[in-house]
Symmetry: C2
Subunit: 335 residues, 2 copies
């Protein structure tokens, strides 16, 4: 591999001068600079970023830790993160599929010295314990994390409020038997969305019915299974189904179609996240819109701010959701 020394030797200058040419310090005589560039081009020299970051202690890289990569939600998140990062000239070191906190801790550790900051999405985990293992002063931002921590910036979704609004919408349309397909246990998004659901019912004076709360795991399959379970239980059928994310709502739609049930005539269906595909379902899926890519962007922008300005104060941001009513929950007064 060709190094700065090779270039220096062939251009008959010291390594310092070569370094100055490539690190943008504008102090090298034009003539010399050109000669060095020529030699470098001929030798196909590229500065070794790793070595550079050792002295500058800047890597221009952000670490991204995600629980999973499956489905449009994560794809949008990364897309947002990537957009913000590239805008500021940062690279992304991505690592996913971290289920338990030991794994996450080890992934965090292995990023030491490789990244200037960390975006950590851990809706399932106890972020507090994780953060404790981190060396001080390491810029970090939490995405949809379960705990709001002093001094640790975070961005999250207005889950509860969004879910409540959707359930209220269903109530206004005359539904009173509204089922929920929740996400995985201990997942903060799932819990908050379920809370919103319960709050809406409570305010409407409807007492909770545990038979209407089915647990899924945010996958299409689990939404599908949840509906099959509901349909099997003839004694207690909902008229509306609120899924804690779109993937499960989509699985639910499939199960209903297979069972010959019509949506929204027989069942109203609503999801959460408003992933891009939601509008293309049949019928188009009503959902709680989450600015997913924005979520990634905001987190990343905050992180970059913290990275470039050490006294940047940690903020907690909550992104607003918006009801997107399409056809899957039917016209008013229909239930």
């Amino acid at each position: 591999m060709v190094t700065i020394k090779d270039v220096a030797r062939q251009a008959d200058v010291s390594v310092a001068t070569v370094s100055r040419v490539f690190s943008g310090a504008n102090v090298v005589r034009e003539e010399t600079s050109k000669r060095i560039r020529d030699v470098a081009a001929r030798l196909r020299y590229t500065p070794h970023v790793g070595a550079r970051s050792l002295t500058t202690s800047k890597t221009n890289t952000l670490g991204v830790l995600l629980p999973d990569l499956y489905g449009e939600f994560f794809s949008e998140i990364i897309r947002g993160i990537d957009a913000a990062a590239r805008r500021s000239g940062y690279h992304l070191l991505v690592s996913s599929s971290h289920s338990d906190s030991r794994e996450v801790a080890s992934a965090m550790r292995s990023m030491r010295g490789r990244v200037d900051g960390l975006v950590l999405m851990s809706p399932d985990l106890d972020a507090k314990a994780l953060v404790a293992t981190l060396p001080e002063g390491h810029p970090l931002i939490l995405l949809n994390a379960s705990v709001k921590q002093r001094g640790v910036a975070s961005v999250r979704i207005g889950n509860s409020r969004g879910a409540k609004a959707m359930v209220q919408h269903l109530l206004e349309h005359g539904h009173s038997r509204i089922a929920i397909i929740s996400g995985a246990k201990h997942n903060i998004d799932s819990e908050q969305r379920r809370n919103g659901y319960r709050a809406a019912l409570a305010e409407a004076g409807i007492s909770p019915d545990s038979r209407l709360e089915v647990e899924g795991d945010f996958t299409e399959d689990s939404g599908y299974e949840a509906v099959r379970k509901m349909l099997a239980n003839r004694s207690c059928r909902p008229t509306a189904i609120f899924a804690a994310n779109d993937a499960m709502a989509i699985g639910a739609l499939s199960a209903l179609r297979e069972a010959g049930a019509r949506v929204p005539d027989d069942f109203a269906v609503a999801g959460f996240d408003d992933i891009p595909i939601a509008r293309h379902m049949t019928p188009p899926l009503s959902s709680v819109h989450v600015p997913i890519a924005d979520l990634g962007e905001r987190a990343t922008e905050n992180l970059i701010a913290a990275v470039s300005n050490p006294k940047h104060r940690a903020r907690h941001e909550i992104l607003r959701t918006a009801l997107v009513i399409r056809e899957s929950c039917g016209p008013p007064g229909h239930a």
Copy 2:
């Protein structure tokens, strides 16, 4: 930041010994080792991976360059890459949204010294020119690249064959006016799929009709627009629509639904890729199954093989597709 020196000082040993403890050389006396580990734990010391990789010239990281991150296709690709990488203990440096080749070249350059190898997906670009700018001996694998290059490993999809099979299937079902919504111009996947389409028609003795070839860009919106265009042109309506990917097929389904057309009764629709959501469309979308995650995995496995064994021979792999017939293209003899 606490370094190896701090640990050495506090544990009253030399940095070499500390280094040996953390790099797994099993030559340090148990007693000493324990003392060092204790000090390190107390100080929250983590070895600086960047510094380590400077001497070992191993980064345990792979670079991933993608043209985009939007949609389930890329999400699955990354998932596959990530799975294979994590299995072998590699990290991923991801960079996307590279439209023109200057950008890609610069991204490649900026990865020098940061990665042990590169996965490059560039269906739009002239990979040849890009590869030429790369320093020799840099492990690289091309994903769906346009040119088959000597000495450069690649993994790709059996596009032409898959498309041909799908169009033949439509032909067998009695369709003769089969439209195609192709992908972006100069995109290799799009071109190969279109070639497969044309080949099937040619073999069936059907002369090509340029009015039945509409150009899209692989997005849902472009599929939607393409169908609107087709429907507007009353003089020349197809009975079947083959979209060069599922996203466009999904957009097509939306347009048809809005126009009040029934699928598969009025139009048969088929896609390509078989992204996970395809089976959940209404009607479930027939598609050419591509093992997307596998594509990423195979590429990554090959790359890792090349990284760990410099005399690994570059292979060109072509992944087989499989017809997945669901309901969107209807029962036989229907057209």
